[in-house]
Amino acid sequence: MNPTTITVTLNGEPRTLAPRTTLAALIAATGQPPQALSTAVNGEFVAREARAARALRQGDAVFTFQPITGG
């Protein structure tokens, strides 16, 4: 039987999603412009154009990164 939901983490916070929710959909749900951040799943970079094809799985750890000042 297929689960009705999956749980992933977004920047360390648990998120309950429908199975096969894409990374692109998760990012869209944050309300941020997709080009304003970069993404990694389980420590691996996922390019912007690949987010729509990346279905999230139970336990995936999603991280988003934004520009900051730096030395």
């Binding site: 920047n11 951040l37 990694a40 970079f45 991280f63 990164f65 730096g70 030395g71």
Partner: protein
């Protein structure tokens, strides 16, 4: 406009030998003014993992973009090659540049680069088409390994990041200059005052990268200008050729013996 000749690094020609960091300024406006006063054509930026609710990058990024300088993103905070490679790919996408200041820290107290992880990350990133600016120690053999890995330039430290101690090992930097004559060298980290920058340029390094010494000054904009002048002075001195030191006095005025022979 710089009074020194342009130089080439990472395939581009730059007038300014001053790379400026963008962190820790009193305000984005002061940062913008400091960039202008520095004459820098390259500034460093970073990435951070967002908090759970996300967040906007703030107006600093728009101001930096508006200043027209080249961006050099860093991989600050990384402890392994794997982390640094992932962050570099994110930076390339986010900032639209294949330049990456590669930082892989091996010690928490000194933030000393990990030479093994650094070489591993540099090799992978070079293969992936990045222009790797490796933040490294001044160890000659480690530097040679980075060149073997595909780096076209090196960024040896002067002293630990943010310490402002100046050049702790001028001999090592002179050695790098002598043994790697065609490799662009950028002294990165540890510069505390313009005299440190002058010293670095007088040693023959090609450029310096600094942040805290400007950002933490009482007047960052004035300090940016002070460094700009110091960097130009140091470079001109290197090009002009600095006189050899002597242990004893050498008379300057061409007199004939003592003035009065009585």
């Amino acid at each position: 406009m710089s009074c020194t000749a342009p130089f080439r690094i990472a395939g581009v020609e730059l007038q300014s030998r001053f790379f400026l960091g963008t962190a820790g300024y009193p305000s984005p406006q002061v940062l913008q003014q400091a960039i202008a006063a520095s004459g820098a054509q390259v500034v460093t930026v970073g990435l951070k993992r967002q908090l759970a609710q996300g967040g906007a990058p703030g107006d600093f990024y728009a101001l930096i973009r508006a200043s027209g300088v080249r961006l050099l993103p860093n991989t600050a905070g990384c402890r392994t090659a794997r982390e640094a490679v992932t962050l570099a790919h994110m930076a390339r996408e986010l900032f639209g540049t294949s330049w990456i200041k590669l930082e892989v820290v091996g010690d928490e107290h000194t933030l000393q680069p990990d030479p093994v992880e650094l070489v591993a990350a540099a090799a992978e990133l070079a293969r992936a088409g990045f222009e790797v600016f490796p933040y490294c120690t001044d160890d000659l053999v480690s530097c040679q390994r980075l060149l073997d890995a595909g780096c076209r330039l090196l960024m040896p430290w002067g002293a630990p990041i943010g310490s402002g101690q100046g050049l702790l090992n001028p001999w090592a930097l002179r050695t790098l200059r002598a043994r790697l004559p065609g490799v662009p060298l950028v002294v990165d980290a540890g510069i505390g005052s313009p005299r440190d920058a002058v010293q670095a340029l007088e040693l023959g390094v090609d450029a310096v990268l600094l942040n805290s010494a400007v950002a933490q000054a009482h007047d960052p904009v004035a300090m940016a200008r002070a460094f700009r002048l110091g960097i130009e002075a140091g470079r001109l001195a290197w090009e002009a050729g600095i006189m050899a030191r002597q242990d004893m006095a050498v008379p300057t005025t061409p007199v004939t013996g003592r003035p009065f022979v009585l």
